[in-house]
């Protein structure tokens, strides 16, 4: 009997856990270590942030599902990995600290045969002074943050109803942020709500981003075919900004935030500030606070983790200039080379480099969107790890490993631009592959036939449908595994 321990019960870890129990049956043990009791469908936090949904609609308790599926659920935070065990007992283990209210603060060692690190991001608000819910801006990264954002937005709308103009700033709070798509969605949802409230003329909405140009989305932009022409996501996105009257500041690194003012530097080295009444700025991400030790207790964190805290896997991490980046740099199995029984999936794995071209301002400030690892790739990686671990358990070293590189993986993204069954709208996009491959697709790096964008009400219906489908799937209801990642 083998024991698989999964760190993190988010999109990647939860997907891996459900597939592992399906593929392995109950003769093997699947343990999920995750600090929260609730599962959150993070993409719908955007709608919580504008008051269209409440937390109950985007979260549900994990315990009953894990009980039903025979998954050993530990409500705890992993703190250290010991991939070689100790000098006395070489069985690998992880150290955890319980967050479960009945065992709060208790520590334990959990041994494993296979480990999946799916701990996602640490929301690194600390990288920018004054950023985040403990500072002067809001966030929608967790359901709780989104509720606070919605309350603040409601106050701003109230003020506009009393005739007070409001400046609303939405975007990312650091030059190295990712998830620009989520900030974009929130900006357009806020615009939609303000319009619905009849106070659009009193709102100056500004999108503040580290993307060098609009439509970059951290993937270096997209080229679409539309009505017989090739067009860019830049032009397409700018058109939407024009139509909805949203201003934008691009190529920006937020240096600090003070009460009602955001200070930023742009790629050209210019520095400026912007006064705001309401601001939602996403934080930069880094790896969670996990350490690693060898059998003698020596700290080997640098061997397992990149400087940004994400786990190093089977990628080519050689530092090279943008012109030399290759599709093959990207990992295929997400296995840690030095410890092949460890996998890192979802946001937790260290990308070899950005996808979008990084830039440095004349003052030496790095302004470089980090590569997005959205829900679909995260789920695919979780399932891939589950299937490779199953193969390793069943066939040992003869197991044939499956691969899923982001340079050979597509993504479907639906960016909400306003909620409502009749008056909602969203930008639906597909891209293939996520990481451009200049060898297979020399002109644009991606398959033009599979890279696509369209705005309209249908996108909102799809986004709403995905909300219900993915929550159904995450609850492991009958036939859940038929719903693709």
């Amino acid at each position: 009997m083998a024991r698989v321990v999964i760190l993190g019960g988010g999109i990647a870890g939860h997907t891996a856990a459900l597939h592992l129990t399906r593929m392995l049956g109950r003769t093997n043990e699947v343990v999920v270590v995750t600090p929260n009791s609730m599962w959150n469908w993070i993409p719908s936090n955007i709608w919580v942030g504008v008051g269209r949904m409440d937390t109950e609609q985007v979260t549900f308790p994990l315990a009953p599902i894990y009980r039903r599926k025979g998954i050993d659920h530990r409500q705890a935070l992993a703190t250290a990995i010991h991939p070689e065990g100790t000098s006395d007992d070489h069985t690998p283990f992880v150290e955890v600290t319980y967050t479960d209210p009945t065992r709060q603060g208790e520590t334990a060692r959990l041994t494993y045969d296979f480990l999946i690190n799916a701990t996602g991001p640490k929301l690194n608000f600390g990288a920018t002074p004054g950023l985040g819910p403990d500072g002067f801006t809001k966030s929608v990264c967790t359901a709780g943050h989104a509720v606070e954002a919605s309350q603040s937005l409601a106050k701003a709308i109230e003020k506009m109803k009393r005739g007070e103009p409001q400046t609303i700033v939405i975007g990312v709070g650091h030059g190295t942020c990712t998830c620009e798509g989520a900030a974009f969605e929130y900006a357009f949802n806020v615009e939609h709500e303000v319009r619905q409230a009849g106070v659009r003329d009193l709102a100056d909405i500004v999108y503040l981003t580290n993307e060098f140009e609009l439509g970059d989305f951290g993937v270096g932009g997209l080229t679409f075919t539309q009505q017989g022409f090739q067009t860019t996501s830049k032009l397409w996105t700018e058109s939407l900004f024009r139509e909805r009257g949203i201003r934008a500041i691009t190529g920006a690194h937020v240096e600090r935030v003070e009460e009602g003012v955001v200070f930023f530097e742009q790629v050209d080295g210019s520095k400026d500030s912007l006064a705001f009444d309401f601001a939602m700025l996403l934080p930069p991400f880094r790896g969670v606070d996990l350490k690693a030790f060898d059998a003698d207790g020596v700290d080997i964190s640098e061997k397992l983790f990149a400087p940004n805290g994400f786990m190093k896997v089977d990628a080519d991490y050689t530092a090279k200039p943008f012109a030399d980046w290759r599709a093959e740099d990207w990992p295929k199995t997400y296995q840690v080379p030095s410890y092949p029984n460890i996998f890192a999936v979802g946001i937790a794995f260290a990308p070899p480099h950005q996808i979008s071209q990084p830039r440095t301002s004349p003052n030496g400030t790095l302004i470089a969107p980090s590569p997005p690892r959205t829900g679909m790739p995260s789920g695919i990686m979780g399932k891939l790890a589950a299937s490779n671990i199953t193969a390793l358990i069943k066939n040992g070293s003869k197991a044939k490993m499956k691969t899923a590189s982001m340079s050979d993986m597509g993504a479907a993204c639906v960016a909400s631009a306003g909620s409502g069954l009749r008056d909602g709208s969203a930008a639906s996009m597909t891209m293939y592959p996520v990481v451009p491959d200049s060898v297979r697709y020399p002109v644009t790096g991606r398959s033009v036939a599979d890279t696509y964008g369209e705005i309209g009400l249908a996108g909102h219906w799809i986004k709403a449908l995905l909300h219900y489908l993915f929550i159904y799937k995450a609850k492991a209801r009958p036939g859940w595994w038929l719903i693709p990642e």
Binding site: I249, A412, G456
Partner: protein
Amino acid sequence: MDATDADIAAAPLPTDKTLSARQSVVVQFGRFLAINLKMFKIIRKDRH
């Protein structure tokens, strides 16, 4: 200085016809099927 706002001002503005097609239930029902098909194609490609 940032040219983004100038770029936005110069971007194509959808016509009233395009805007109403984007919100028309009938048109969008067709688009719903078409977009799902495109997404399904990507999902199939991902099944290595």
